[in-house]
């Protein structure tokens, strides 16, 4: 394939830039225009302060298209929202209905087995879980609501994020196309999509789960991509020399070796999801973030910090559970060290 010379790109950008200036100058919304274009070249006072007419009407373009978008595609979002909502309410109901000792026991059991029967971690996690309700009985149900949202958010992240990560690792072009999108998702301020999310999905848990996906998915995608590409070349060559197909190579060699990285990604995803659920209390999402917000709005520092502590505890529980599982896999992947340990 012939490479396009760099100069062509520059030329395209320059032309685009000038077209944008002309379009915004001629836009009817542009204010305080001089009487004629020629005035710009005789009177140079517009160079002092940024002139009002030098203003791309992005806002109007976005607003007009946004309205059309809602009218045309609003139903699709309603359907997505309805599906998610069903999942959320069912899951939440089960967890809220369950007696609290059962929930704590379940957390302890899960931690015990995912961490590879580490007693210290298990006791610590069980203790933290107990302390969430112990801090304030009101927090227990709220913590469950928060966790449900986080879990659902992570589930969507994993289902969508990991395949994208794999595709990125296997194809340079996909990578180059997706990376800027990930940058955008990570950098754009949360309120830019939280508030439009309300218009599409209504107040409550659904825009929060969608926001979790936007905010927490990029690290998972990045770490999946990185994990697969970091697998030793020699190992892959060995697999190839045994005649492994691309599919066998991926599922038999690359994925298992990338699993610690992917688990790290899921761990990061969890932490960021929790952070987002707290911010999402600003758009009417129930849960522990709600308590922090309420405490701050009533200037009740004690209540806000108490709720903040509960979030930290919840973060520790979720972190230890995912982290411990990652460590277990990592150990399994390094048989040499394991033999040494058992000596």
């Amino acid at each position: 394939m012939k490479k396009i010379p760099q100069g062509v790109y520059y030329a395209i950008f320059t032309v685009f830039f000038f077209v944008l200036i002309v379009v915004s100058y001629n836009h009817p919304r542009t204010r305080k225009k001089p009487d004629s274009v020629m005035e710009l070249f005789s009177d140079f006072s517009w160079l002092n302060d940024w002139p009002r007419w030098l203003d791309v009407p992005f806002m109007h373009w976005i607003n007009t298209n946004w309205k059309i978008f809602i009218n045309e595609y609003g139903l699709i979002f309603d359907a997505i929202g309805y599906g998610l909502l069903r999942g959320y309410t069912e899951l939440k109901e089960v967890a809220v209905q369950a007696p609290w000792p059962v929930v704590i026991a379940a957390v302890i059991l899960i931690t015990y087995f995912t961490s590879g029967r580490k007693l210290g971690t298990t006791v610590f996690v069980g203790f933290c879980t107990f302390f969430i309700g112990f801090l304030n009985p009101r927090f227990w149900d709220k913590a469950i609501e928060t966790t449900t949202m986080v879990v659902l958010g992570i589930f969507i992240c994993v289902v969508i994020g990991i395949p994208i990560g794999i595709a990125m690792a296997r194809n340079e072009k996909v990578r180059n196309a997706i990376l800027p999108i990930l940058d955008l998702m990570q950098v754009i301020p949360a309120f830019c999509y939280l508030i439009p999310g309300i218009i599409l999905f209504g107040l409550g848990a659904i825009p929060a789960i969608i926001s979790i996906f936007i905010y927490a998915c990029p690290p998972l995608i990045r770490l999946t991509d990185l994990g697969i590409r970091l697998v030793d070349k020699e190992v892959i060559e060995a697999a190839e020399s045994f005649g492994a197909s691309r599919r066998q190579k991926l599922w038999g060699v690359q994925m298992p070796l990338a699993l610690p990285n992917i688990m790290q990604g899921i761990n990061q995803c969890t932490m960021m999801a929790l952070a987002m659920v707290v911010i999402a209390s600003m758009i009417g999402t129930r849960g522990l973030g709600d308590e922090v917000l309420l405490g701050l709005q009533q200037l009740n520092v004690g209540a806000a910090i108490e709720a903040g502590l509960a979030i930290v505890l919840l973060a520790i529980v979720l972190d230890r559970m995912t982290q411990a599982y990652g460590e277990k896999i990592q150990q399994r992947n390094q048989p040499v060290k394991k033999i040494k340990k058992s000596d």
Partner: protein, 346 residues
């Protein structure tokens, strides 16, 4: 060792110098006067703050600093004298907090900024006309609550309420109980002012039914898509209101379990007022005279808010300048030479 000592001495001397130069610059900047204005997270307050700070900055030559926040933090800062002036205060919502401060002279009351405002429950016009919902009692009729089903709690309707932590949230909670609506509707906290606006806007553009708490003057009410009908409630009665507020304050302090039946009535259409810290008022009589004279009719405020949203491109200062250019009302608030200075700056 000596070199190290030298370095430390140099560092100390340098930090001293920079400190001196810093304090020198701050004193010169303070030459005329400095005003710290408290602003809130809704747009009618923003607009008064923008107009006020423009006049103070260009007419009086003051250093104006604006801090924006939620009601309680800003009021706390005002009481603490960290903030000097606020241009819009919803008096009736914060009586318990503000009254003692006014009595002790820590705060000074500076009159009305907008003569009339509404706070009430609203239903979108299409639903109101189709089902004949005109009062809060109509919400109790069978089948009505299903129009507004709360997706997270399908057995109830969702009444999109005030933001929890604002007093109006607790007031709405008590009202729902008094009106016998709390079994049928959730008092749904939208989390923030922006989220409440977006919820109303979303329902209006999609043509979905909504019953919500809201207030005027606001730019949202001036939008073409949004058409809300105010629901009638029992008429305002001071004794009834005071009895309700006792319960409200109790719930705010001790949680919703302490609810006792009392009474409920509509929000009083109230005047929005201005406040200043007593210390600032004592030292800046001319500025206080201006703030006290400051008042704009509700219709003009609505016009400005519409201009702000649809014409100015979301530029509060441009909106303030638009008002100052097109109205001459404001010239009566200030002396003629201040007015001249403001006009020059436009």
């Amino acid at each position: 060792m000596i070199k190290k000592m030298q370095k430390i001495l140099m560092a100390i001397a340098f930090s001293f110098l920079s400190f001196l130069s810093f304090s020198a610059t701050t004193t010169t900047a303070n030459a005329a006067c400095s005003v710290h204005i408290g602003d809130f997270d809704w747009d009618s307050a923003n607009i008064h703050t923008a107009i006020g700070s423009f006049i103070l900055e260009h007419g009086y030559g003051c250093d104006v600093e604006v801090t924006k926040g939620s009601t309680n933090p800003i009021l706390a800062a005002l009481i603490d004298n960290q903030i000097d002036v606020i241009f819009e205060h919803w008096t009736d919502n914060n009586v318990a907090l503000i009254d003692p401060e006014l009595e002790s002279g820590n705060l000074v009351f500076l009159g009305v900024n907008t003569p009339a405002s509404e706070q009430a429950f609203f239903v979108d016009r299409a639903t109101s006309e189709a089902h004949g919902i005109t009062s809060v009692d109509d919400l109790k009729r069978p089948g009505i609550k299903d129009l507004f089903t709360d997706p997270e709690n399908p057995s109830k309707g969702r009444l999109t309420s005030c933001i929890s932590g604002w007093t109006c949230y607790t007031i709405n909670l008590v009202k729902l109980k008094e009106y016998g609506l709390d079994e049928m509707y959730t008092n749904f906290d939208p989390g923030s002012g922006g989220a409440l606006d977006a919820a109303i806007m979303g329902a209006s553009t999609k043509g979905q039914p909504i019953v919500t708490y809201y207030w005027t003057p606001t730019s949202l009410m001036g939008k073409p898509e949004v058409d809300l009908v105010r629901l009638t409630e029992p008429a305002y009665d001071k004794d009834c209101w005071d009895a309700m507020m006792v319960v409200v304050e109790d719930i705010k302090a001790n949680g919703p379990d302490v609810y006792t039946p009392s009474c409920a009535c509509e929000y009083k259409d109230m005047s929005l007022t201005k406040l200043a810290s007593g210390k600032f008022a004592a030292d800046n009589a001319d500025i206080i005279d201006f703030v006290e004279a400051y008042t704009i009719p509700t219709a003009e405020v609505n016009d400005m808010l519409a201009y702000y949203v649809d014409e100015s491109g979301g530029d509060m200062e441009a909106t303030a300048m638009h008002y100052l250019e097109n109205s001459s009302n404001w010239e009566s608030w200030v002396s003629s030479d201040v007015a001249a200075k403001v006009k020059k700056a436009l």
